[in-house]
Amino acid sequence: MTAGADVQQRPANARRPPDPRRRSFWLLSLPSTVALALFLVVPLLLMAALSFRADLSGQLLAPFAPTLKQYQAAFASEGYWRLLGTSALIALGVAAISTLLAYPIAFFLAFRAGRRATIYLILLLVPFWTSYLLRVMAWKLMLGSEGVINSVLLGTGIIQTPLDALLYNRGAVVVTLVYVWIPFATLPILAAMGRIDDRLHDAAADLYASPWQQLRRVTLPLSLPGVVAAFFMVFIPTVGEYVTPLLVGGPSGTMFGNIIQDFFTRAANWPLGSALSMVMLGATLALVMVGFRVVQPRRLIGR
């Protein structure tokens, strides 16, 4: 949502001439700015500083002699680089699939659900009433060797031995992440569609546009900002995802986020973990910038 809102507002703000409402703008943005500075920027700076430490010995906040040792270690291991590439690819796939699957849901909610849209929207959000962990664990029950899918296939005689390939691999990670992200991806698309004037569809129909043409020439272009927002909203956090691969990934489903998490919780090596986080931050930033170059959200908004 945030990304979507930003995409919408930034050019508008930039053009607005100074006016008395400017003051209230600053007042209103003050709490979020302070919160972000305290809880995001400061910890991030601390982490950046940590990545230049040689090790974790001595006082954490005391001055230290900075070193690039951790970055050298991070860059020296080709395993880390390959894994970063793999994680980006997984994120790309997950973002593409969930956005694709979310689009019809958003379309239905915006244009076809009518008065019941609110109820359907609540139903869409019902999964969030239970913990994320629980939903991922549920997929273990689905995909496990004695899980739901295997039981059904065995019971109907389609297979004779349970499929081991369902759980503990990258496929399981992708399936679970797509499931988790679909409701999130729906929201920005829905928001974008909500702004489409329904009379445009009537106008298109009056001009003998088929439903397919309406979708392609009217709805899709106008909802593209939401689609782009949804895509990046899924893509960015998924690059650094670690809980899902931890639970359903197995040894072969490890992602870059797991490596970072390991350095913090299993290795007591915060400096190297911080350096790897910084590398991931830089890489994600670069990818997003390339992505924005390609799709040019400002042009999409058409202002």
Binding site: M1, T2, A3, D6, L36, L40, V41, L44, L45, A48, A49, F52, R53, A54, D55, L56, S57, G58, Q59, L60, A62, P63, F64, A65, P66, A73, S77, G79, Y80, R82, L83, G144, S145, D164, Y168, M233, I236, P237, G240, G250, P251, S252, T254, N258, I259, D262, F263, F264, T265, R266, A267, A268, N269, W270, L272, M278, L281, T284, L285, V288
Partner: protein, 383 residues
């Protein structure tokens, strides 16, 4: 966390700030990290705490915060203290790996008491995070065998109170695997897809050392490189790495995993569930570890913390540990009193030769810790 992350990424401010910090680092500070290697000051008779020993337990008030592994917060695992010190509030924080416990204490956790395991003790002393134990105030101290007391000693001083212990060996399903006589079974391609290793770098180094007969306290770079290659290949045989004991128990009970690196708690739990399992006696010897409790350096609550640890060694608490988690107690009387045949099997009480051949986990140096854990993450990254 997720939406904010995207916000940050879109601003170039984050990047600029990072550069700023980098500049600040290079500009400032030529002084190296202050080494905390100087021994911790002896336990202070802090004025804030109740006078030592004399106050009857039920008149002692105050509160204690314990950093422990989840599960050990249950009252049964500090029953003696609970029963005697009715007016003391005990709260728990959790750290579910040695690294997590260590980094929490390192980051300035105000926990009075924490619970590390052998392998991870030296750094607490080196970094000045742990207070020396005044054993003269521990009434139950005599019940602890000397071999256990020694494990809590670093640089010749008693910094830790030993509490729980157990074996590590290979646990296997007897209906799927005929027999196991060596740690190298973890590398046996026969069991491809049905093996589970603990997700831990030092553990991998230990297993490789046993197999090759290396001295695990003096692993060379070449040996570490070999360990990395071996475990990178081994990963293809694994069903999954296990993180916590319940995961392991579940995957062995369901039949997904036939053979695993395992603590004896998993063995005893599966025995109790009627799953056909056996716990190997590898020719290289089993491994054994000991859990200890330490008191935070300069803790104003030192005396109360000491009372807590004294009661931790109590018989009721020890019995609860043995019967509920199937781990050994450092209280010798508790172990001598075991009669349950399942427990006797789990602890190999009837076969003393097993214990004689057992390899106890040595303490890591900070350099070993960093090198071995990094080796393991690279193993995991290159799947």
């Amino acid at each position: 966390m997720r939406p904010t992350e995207s916000r940050l990424l879109r601003g170039s401010a984050g990047l600029a700030a990072i550069l700023l910090v980098a500049a600040a680092c290079t500009g400032g500070a030529s002084t190296g990290p202050t080494s905390g290697s100087e021994a911790t000051p002896p336990p202070s008779e802090a004025a804030a705490t109740p006078p030592p020993t004399d106050t009857p337990p039920d008149q002692v008030t105050g509160s204690l915060n314990v950093l422990d592994w989840s599960g050990y917060d249950q009252e049964i695992f500090w029953q003696d203290f609970k029963n005697k010190y009715k007016n003391v509030t005990v709260t728990f924080d959790f750290g579910n790996s040695d690294a997590e416990q260590y980094t929490k204490m390192k980051a300035g956790s105000q926990a009075d008491i924490f619970h590390p395991y052998t392998g991870w003790l030296q750094f607490y002393v080196d970094e000045g995070l742990v207070a020396e134990i005044d054993t003269s105030k521990l009434k139950n101290w005599d019940k602890v065998p000397d071999s256990f007391k020694k494990i809590g000693q670093i640089n010749g001083k008693q910094y830790f109170v030993p509490w729980d212990w157990g074996f590590t060996s290979i646990l296997y399903r007897t209906d799927k695997v005929s027999s196991v006589d060596s740690w190298s079974a973890l590398f046996d391609t026969k069991y491809k897809g049905h093996i589970s290793m603990w997700d831990d770098g030092p553990a991998a180094v230990t297993v490789s050392s046993y197999i090759h007969g290396w001295d695990e306290t003096a692993i060379t770079d070449a040996q570490l490189a070999q360990v990395k290659t071996e475990w990178t290949d081994q990963a293809k045989l694994d069903k999954t790495y296990w993180g916590g004991e319940p995961d392991l128990v579940q995957s062995m009970a369901s039949g997904d995993v036939w053979l695993a690196y395992a603590w004896q708690g998993a063995y005893a739990t599966l025995l109790g569930q009627g799953v056909p399992v056996a716990y190997a006696n590898p020719k290289e010897g089993r491994n054994s570890w000991v859990g200890v409790y330490g008191i935070r350096a300069n803790d104003p609550n030192y005396d109360l913390a000491l009372r807590f640890l004294d009661e931790k060694l109590g018989t009721l608490t020890g019995n609860n540990l043995v019967t509920n988690y199937y781990y050994g107690s450092s209280n010798g009387e508790v172990m001598a009193g075991i009669t349950d045949p399942t427990l006797k099997t789990a602890f190999s009480i009837d076969d003393p030769s097993i214990l004689q051949k057992t390899n106890f986990t040595p303490n890591l140096t900070a350099a070993q810790r960093d090198a071995w854990t990094a080796m393991w993450t690279e193993v995991k990254a290159s799947q």
